[in-house]
């Protein structure tokens, strides 16, 4: 015999269970919709406030626009009439004195914009190591030559006359290298206009006792960059060597007014006292 009551109860439970997911979905939809609606309502309230604000600003802007749009229209109409007439007057010279009489607040109050060229400094710094390496290489070259000469000395007999010849040769070799290096650096300087290179050339020429050239390159360096201490010193030293002592003192005095460099002061004092000739 079938137990119908039990079966009915089981069927009911089964039915209820089958409806549970539908119920959950339905309730969740309701909850979500309620949440969304509340959010929308709050947005609408905020939007309403915003609209009110915008309306206010629009009203203000409208008044501004009236002022702005009116002015060009008037000027354009006047322009047309004047262009047609083309009454070009012979122009009087407008001096600053005349301008001063006129009411002008533009120059005093207006903001002044300045260009920013720091990016060029970073670009220049990226190129500097290439030039810094050059003098080191030259020193190495010079050292190699001197070593070779030194090696030759013990092979030959110890004779004072021969040693002096070698010394003379050594000097000539150094000079040739220096002149070649200077030529290369001058070429590079003409390309780059780098004050470090022209200063190096000036120093080299001073060392080689070519004071006129040293003076010229120091002058060029000063024209490019006025703040390099060493170039002013080379400039003044080469002037003294060119028998322009007074000129050297004058230039150092001028430089000292702007820089207060201690080395320049010492050099000036030495030139005045006659220690440096």
């Amino acid at each position: 015999m079938l137990n119908t009551r039990d079966l009915e109860q089981r069927w009911l439970r089964y039915k209820i269970k089958s409806y549970i997911p539908h119920f959950i979905i339905f309730t969740s939809i309701i909850v979500i919709s309620v949440i969304i609606l509340t959010f929308f309502n709050s947005d609408k309230k905020y939007a309403g406030k915003l609209l009110q604000k915008i309306n206010k600003t629009q009203i203000e802007a409208k008044t501004d626009k009236i002022v702005i749009t009116n002015t060009p229209k008037v000027t354009l109409l006047e322009d047309d009439t004047k262009v047609k007439s083309t009454n070009y007057k012979e122009t009087p010279v407008i001096s600053s004195k005349i301008q001063e009489n006129k009411p002008s607040n533009l120059g005093d109050d207006s903001l002044k914009l300045a260009p920013s060229l720091d990016f060029m400094k970073s670009m220049q710094h990226s190129t500097l190591p290439y030039y810094k390496e050059e003098p080191v290489i030259q020193q190495e070259k010079a050292l190699v030559i001197s070593e070779e000469v030194q090696e030759l000395e013990p092979i030959e007999d110890i004779q004072p006359e021969v040693v002096t010849e070698e010394e003379v040769k050594r000097i000539t070799i150094k000079r040739r290298d220096a002149s070649n290096d200077i030529r290369d650096i001058i070429k590079r300087f003409k390309k780059n206009n780098n004050p470090a290179l022209s200063l190096f050339v000036a120093k080299k020429y001073y060392e080689l006792e070519e004071y006129h050239k040293a003076y010229n390159y120091a002058l060029i360096t000063n024209q490019i960059n006025r703040d390099i201490d060493a170039s002013w010193i080379i400039f003044a030293k080469s002037l003294v060597k060119l028998k322009q002592r007074d000129m050297a003192i004058k230039t150092l005095n001028k430089y000292l007014k702007s820089s207060h460099s201690s080395s320049a002061k010492i050099l000036r004092d030495e030139i005045i006292s006659g220690k440096f000739k």
Binding site: I94, S95, K102, A114, F119
Partner: protein, 180 residues
């Protein structure tokens, strides 16, 4: 491997162009730098140093209209933004001054920022004049240096009238700037 080599080649070419432009700029060959920048602009448009260098070269060679694109491109660093503002003021002043000279537009009501560039100086001096009838040329004295004067006039041309600013120092012409 080929792609890597190609990339390296492209990078080296890019660096060379920028470096060459910088060297030329230091030698004051602004017009050449401006034309080089113009030719290679598309390849280097994201490099702000390149764009700034190009813009300054064009500014110094009086190609003011070429500043329009750098003005739009320079925006990622503080320095480039300030340069962009600087260029935009000059470009605007050029356009307004040209409009004023050509169509007798009244500039006296305007209040704009100024710069150290010659066009800005002349713009400031011109805008100080009240509404007036057109003149064949204007002579302005520099506010800081009385020996320095600027002559502003329109030079008639078949296609477009050109705006000319001549700088005089003790009646000797130093520089002539032509804009259109």
């Amino acid at each position: 491997m080929k792609i890597v080599l190609a990339l390296l080649l492209v990078l080296s070419l890019h660096a060379n162009i920028k470096q060459d432009m910088f060297n030329l700029y230091q030698n004051k060959k602004y017009e050449k730098v401006c034309s080089m920048g113009f030719d290679n602009f598309n390849r280097n448009s994201k490099d702000e140093e390149f764009v700034s260098l190009y813009a300054f070269a064009c500014l110094n060679s009086d190609y003011i209209d070429r500043l329009a694109i750098p003005i739009a491109m320079l925006k990622f660093s503080k320095e480039s933004r300030s340069n962009s503002a600087y260029f935009s003021v000059i470009l605007m002043q050029k356009k307004l001054l040209y409009h004023a000279l050509q169509d007798n537009y009244n500039l006296s009501t305007l209040k704009l920022p100024t710069t150290d560039y010659v066009l800005s100086k002349v713009f400031d001096l011109y805008s100080k004049l009240k509404k007036h009838e057109p003149r064949t040329f204007y002579l302005f004295e520099d506010e800081n240096d009385k020996k320095l004067t600027y002559k502003l006039y329109l030079s008639k041309d078949v296609k477009v009238n050109k705006m000319v600013i001549e700088e005089f120092y003790d009646t000797i012409t130093i520089k002539r700037h032509v804009y259109w």
